[in-house]
Symmetry: C2
Subunit: 129 residues, 2 copies
Amino acid sequence: MRRSKARETIIEELQKVKTHPRVDELFHLVRRRMPRISLGTVYRNLDRLRHEGAVAEIFCGDFNRYDGDTSRHHHFLCRRCQRVWDLDGQVALKVELTTQPGDFRIDGEQVLLYGLCRECLEGEGLSHL
Amino acid sequence: MRRSKARETIIEELQKVKTHPRVDELFHLVRRRMPRISLGTVYRNLDRLRHEGAVAEIFCGDFNRYDGDTSRHHHFLCRRCQRVWDLDGQVALKVELTTQPGDFRIDGEQVLLYGLCRECLEGEGLSHL
DNA sequence: TTTGATGCAAAGTATTTGCAATCGG
DNA sequence: CCGATTGCAAATACTTTGCATCAAA
């Protein structure tokens, strides 16, 4: 794969943020540095970067999100504000295969917890729930 | 919520299959019994059934899938044929919170393993991998 | 009868693609 | 130079929505 300014800028911006942006959000971030970049280029490059394992796609419903951190970790999705957080200290989660797969070759996993974030709980006066 | 023939047929068909259909696939199943049902009605009802917890949505990439079985279980997605299976005997998985959440109220989880199913491995002569 | 639910079609979003121009090696 | 990559715009999905009509209670 030939290197390109667009692809390098895309992955740099993605690794800079912790917000797990949607494609259009990342597009706007990249456009601050490359005003003429097109949305199609962002889609094309994210696809390639994902195939080579340089970025991770987070399946979270209507629009998917991207993560520049490909180390093994899990996410939390707020079903009200739709933001996604990394789970580290706040919530530790143990995921392990307890039997060997016979019918599938497993090469990845995606663990998504969902619910409401603190801000949304408080904003709706639901923190007592 | 008032009962309706469409909604009842939708959930019946969804509970009948084990394939975790996409919305359009479920639409075709339901249409065999209700030829005049519209795709919009299927979307509307799946949305309501999901909100009341009668069906589960599986986030698995481009198109989401639905599951009539809402008991706690996890899924496997084949990244070649895009089919989704329930994980039960073949692969047992242990998922547990190891700390109490401080910043989030968690009400659900979604665990998706992905890779290649046996059929796709064999079909591509990759079963040795 | 009342009002929620539906069919239909149009609108709204998200994503992909064709192609000529541009860039990287 | 040559072929990969891009910008642009058009084409494709996919999903939601407005509204007149239908149907459940």
